[in-house]
Point group: C2
Chain length 429, copies 2
């Protein structure tokens, strides 16, 4: 296929006619396919079914420290669950607080505490005239929703394959004490799949912040979500806790994670890890909110995943189901769009998403066209704060949920819609 | 036994010597007994063990509406869980939001939302110069902790056997718009065991409040926690939702409840019920905090309790374990203290507590004496805001956890400590 930019008007018109005919055929097939959210597939969920057999009526429901997991108590988690979540969060069990079923809730609640109480003696953020937050883009819409709900002003920061552009981050935090933090998905970032380089992690930890209570929300959602079980094919990320300690900013980070995409989304276990001072502060506030989280589910998870020792093997099974889907996505993108020179996309080694950049001004149109043809994508703009992608070019592709055959059909539709939108734009049609 | 008030000094001194000798014997026995918290006993927890067999790897994990309970989604709960929690909350499923594992968290989060966002268009409470809250006393310490954590000023309101003294409540809410709400445990109240009369419920619903956003936090923690399975021996409470609608204040209440003391505390299902306007508002805010709560646990509970139809039978088994303990407590109190005229106590038909009133100025001493003798009671003062019982007279007795034999020993110690403290006071010893 020649590059669209090199084609004559007549050639473009011929191509448009062909693409439009193909699109009309697709619409007529009345498909119903979904690539909107990063949901595990049924086959992935089946990997964790044996976990449901672990705690039955005859099981020992006592934690190793003697806690009866059926009764009240234990604000920060049973020891075996702390070890599991410490493995996931790349930290020590004593720095871990095991929480409810979702890291999203953990992050929202953490932000609410900062708004209501401040941190380590700072003014509660809700009492400040304004609070600003750095949002590497493209990013995760639910992060942005938390900021928007709490009236926190979001500032987009560009990313590259190594993470946020640190010159820009350092400039923004240096002189404005209203800039209180940054969202980070350090490994297999949502949606680009980028993994932060060691230099980016070190600069985040060490940068001079005008706000002494600046906080890095370190959402390590895809910490163990590799496509390959070969460590050489897996991304690694420097531990932000170590980097912050080394830089003399030991309280700057809050780590979050969960088993949502390891066992069952919504029925998993979430956790936070933080510095000793932050752990103590969080537990003091949490004491008014909770007696303890679901210890039976903690025990179930700890035993199923062998307190973290079983994570790699279990995640290899997930990876084996994910890799062919991501391969199919990039192969189809390359085959259909590689020559046209109208789009770029990422090619991650883990996580849940491919980030797609189409021609400026076409993302909404592409997503609309796909919806009309029965393929639901993540809404255009979702990867930017306030749903506002100024270039209207970024689309998040979430290939995990559909079976391979459906994914193939969906990519047919998607690539056709990209061409159609690009041609319409080029021809003013 | 003669009333202490009728005894001569010599008689009191003889009694003190005898009681003190008995107390010293008890201390020497180095007991380790706990009546501090309203925790179900091991025998009660065993009643729900069959629930752990309901969802195994071979079970159908699909909700009736087709939702795969293993995956993301469903912010407000699966239909069968809504029906279960509606039965518990005496409401309609469409007014129910199924939440996480604890009503305490549900109440804290609800209060946080009022602080950050206000309600139905009112000013966020955190932006007001002061927020006051009515606390019927004696009451539940964890309610008070929520207010204290959020800087809400607590105003104690006396209770009698019909609930809070409504003349006082009406006076306090009528002219002070800073008074934003009231804690209510309407049935088998913590700790008095009182159940609100229909008149109290109607007056709460209808009273003129200076604050248009006044909210009743209706913590129906013991809604089905009767000691007898005979409806004639069970307390009933008027539905606050109906009363508020009838009074033209349909948005005044928020109902809370959970299965904590029905199945497994900490591993149960909590829920809120509210007016349609409040449900919509809560869901709008929750959308930033959660994708959905643990649907597998919802399904497990809904099936085990037959969506509410199995509640009465299941709770009758709890009641059969609780009734002998409460009978023992009141019998031992009557036998040991009935004649001395130094104390009163409640005699509830359900719930988890007996409220004990000793001589003014002795509660802390009694609890200290008991602790020294190896019996841990709820801390004196805990039943009052800020831990400050101005009369230093109220003690919460929580008989649910210890087996009957241990409870008998613990009541031996407790009644001995009451007499010792009373005699010390009378004699200035």
């Amino acid at each position: 296929m020649p590059r669209y930019a090199d084609m004559s008007k007549a050639e473009l018109e011929a191509e448009l006619a062909q693409v439009r005919a193909r699109y009309d055929e697709m619409v007529a097939r009345r498909l119903s396919l979904n690539m909107a959210r990063g949901k595990p597939s049924a086959a992935q969920l089946e990997l964790s079914l044996p976990m449901l057999d672990i705690l039955d009526a005859a099981a020992d429901l006592t934690a190793e420290d003697g806690t009866d997991c059926r009764n009240y108590g234990v604000l920060d988690g049973i020891p075996e669950a702390k070890r599991l979540m410490a493995t996931l969060l790349d930290d020590e069990p004593e720095n871990v607080i095991v929480l409810g079923n979702a890291s999203l809730t953990a992050m929202y609640d953490a932000m609410v505490r900062l708004m209501l109480f401040g941190t380590q003696g700072s003014t509660p953020w809700a009492q400040l005239p304004e609070v600003k937050w750095l949002c590497p883009v493209p990013g995760y819409d639910r992060h942005f929703t938390i900021c928007e709900a709490l009236g926190i002003q979001m500032i987009p920061v560009p990313m590259d394959e190594n993470g946020p552009i640190m010159d820009e981050v350092e400039r923004l935090v240096a002189n404005d004490a209203a800039v209180k933090g940054i969202w980070c998905v350090p490994k297999y970032s949502n949606p680009t799949g980028a993994t932060y380089s060691d230099e980016v992690v070190r600069r985040l930890a060490a940068m001079e912040c005008a706000a002494p209570d600046f906080r890095i929300f370190w959402d390590n959602a895809y910490a163990v979500h590799h496509f390959s079980d070969d460590p050489a094919e897996q991304d690694a990320v420097l531990d932000i806790a170590v980097a912050c300690r080394d830089a003399g900013n030991p309280d700057r980070y809050l780590k979050f994670g969960s088993t949502s995409k390891i066992t069952f989304p919504g029925a998993g276990v979430a956790a936070a890890a933080a510095s000793p001072a932050n752990v103590a502060e969080i537990k003091r506030h949490m004491n008014a909110q909770a007696i303890g989280h679901d210890k039976l589910n903690q025990l179930r998870h700890a035993r199923f995943l062998n307190e973290g020792a079983g994570l790699a093997e279990h995640m290899a099974r997930h990876g084996a189901l994910m890799e062919p889907k991501f391969r199919l996505v990039t192969e189809r993108l390359e085959a259909e769009l590689g020559g046209a020179g109208i789009a770029t996309w990422t090619n991650p080694r883990g996580g849940y998403f491919v980030s797609f950049e189409g021609p400026a001004g076409t993302a909404r149109r592409i997503v609309d066209l796909a919806r009309t043809a029965g393929v639901v994508m993540t809404g255009a703009g979702a990867t930017w704060p306030y749903g506002d992608d100024p270039a209207d070019s970024n689309i998040r592709i979430a290939p995990s949920l559909p079976p391979l055959e459906e994914l193939d059909e969906a990519m047919d539709v998607f690539t056709c819609c990209v061409k159609l939108a690009a041609l319409e734009q080029l021809l003013g049609a």
